[in-house]
Subunit: 252 residues, 2 copies
Amino acid sequence: MGTVQSVDRALQILEILARDGERGVTEIAGQLDVHKSTVSRLIDSLAERDLVEQNESRGKYRLGVGILRLAGATTARLDVVQEARSLSRSLAAATGETVNLAVLSEGAALYVDQVEATSAVQSHNWVGQRIPLHATSNGKVLLAGMSDDEVRAVLAGELPAYTTRTVTDVGEVVAQLAGVRHDGYVVVVDELEHGLSAVAAPVRNIHGDVIASMSVSGPTFRFTAELVDRAGAELVRCALEVSRRLGWRDLT
Amino acid sequence: MGTVQSVDRALQILEILARDGERGVTEIAGQLDVHKSTVSRLIDSLAERDLVEQNESRGKYRLGVGILRLAGATTARLDVVQEARSLSRSLAAATGETVNLAVLSEGAALYVDQVEATSAVQSHNWVGQRIPLHATSNGKVLLAGMSDDEVRAVLAGELPAYTTRTVTDVGEVVAQLAGVRHDGYVVVVDELEHGLSAVAAPVRNIHGDVIASMSVSGPTFRFTAELVDRAGAELVRCALEVSRRLGWRDLT
DNA sequence: GCAAGTAGTTGCATAATAAGCAACAACTAG
DNA sequence: CTAGTTGTTGCTTATTATGCAACTACTTGC
């Protein structure tokens, strides 16, 4: 099937602005290899619906709040977000940490919901962020839902090291995934950021496919063995309940 | 300036899906008054970037998670969200309720951030939702940032009553706004939903314009006069601090 | 303060694409 | 099993998107 080139270009503009924050018409024209008047008109269409906005008169452009309206409609309709919400909140309250829900999207973990305990240390909102798969608990759970061949395809290329603890050898990651599949959850310590740890478990659909990952994360100094045991058990229970609400049946 | 018709159509498709949840190619073609093959190709462009997805093979279409990636980039770059975040969290902890941030968007309050105290009763995520101005504390704060003529223009038509307490007379709303401007905050009880109350205060930019509204909301039974006093004072203090971080200077 | 350069905008002509049509495959309903 | 509907796709052409040139507005350097 065919796409529509001018729509493709408009969407590329949105991606450029998402990646770079803000850009001028001439800069975007250079990146798309089209004339700046073309970009100006494409941006006009996007601006009419608040998908982009201009910093000031004749200034650079950035993403606008119209995107958030569409996003609100999207999460409101994501079954897994809806079914998980109340469980995420009780889990956050029970553990005193941050609970996240992530789905696989274009070779990364896309965070789609977040609930923080009020006592949680961090205030970063991960929703909408695309986070590397190999260095996070959510990422490893999502990878564990794939075959080893699929994993190797997704993790092609050199895996970046974010800390001295990041596992960057694909073979070692694949070996870890066997353990994830066996245990039904994974604990990751200091791989994405020093001082940040998390435990994650899979959320399955009616067919048993891993469609999301739910995690509890917090500062490493609070991730004692006792907390990991308690949070892990509670997390697995919650993720199972979300899966059940989505139609999954554990026949074992 | 001109827009690009095919991009306009593609964005209309996104809006239809945001409003209706899911729709088929033929349905969308009817609404846009174009041929279904046109819709099929426009959807192809949107699907290639995960902005829409198909429920199952040859089924209806709905918004996809690609929107969330753009949304994450948008909130990450909204200055007011960034500056407010830590204050929102401390306010949620201090009051034990839910704190929201909303901006004006197309005649409604668009919720752009939310922090819940773990003890908060509700689990509804308002981010991305467009909420009526006349029936909410955030809405009334955003209206109070306009002139009376602008208010009357925005509130054209019959105002829906959501509960028996909803103020639906435009004149009465306008009169309330004078009070909001004087007091610097507003309390709204049971107007959007029975049992839901909130207090809100304005966030200003460097020019003093009201660019967002910050609120504390919770169940009416917890919104005692004492809580309103305490939360109101704390909220006004936080909203002022966010305004200062954005460059506003209160010279009084 | 002025000149030169750059960025974004817009009218117009035309090159290129988007769109409609027809036909098809796949699915649903009776 | 048949008829009807939906979504897809090859092809042609009607229509639009695009580039160009010229313009306004702004920035930078002297």
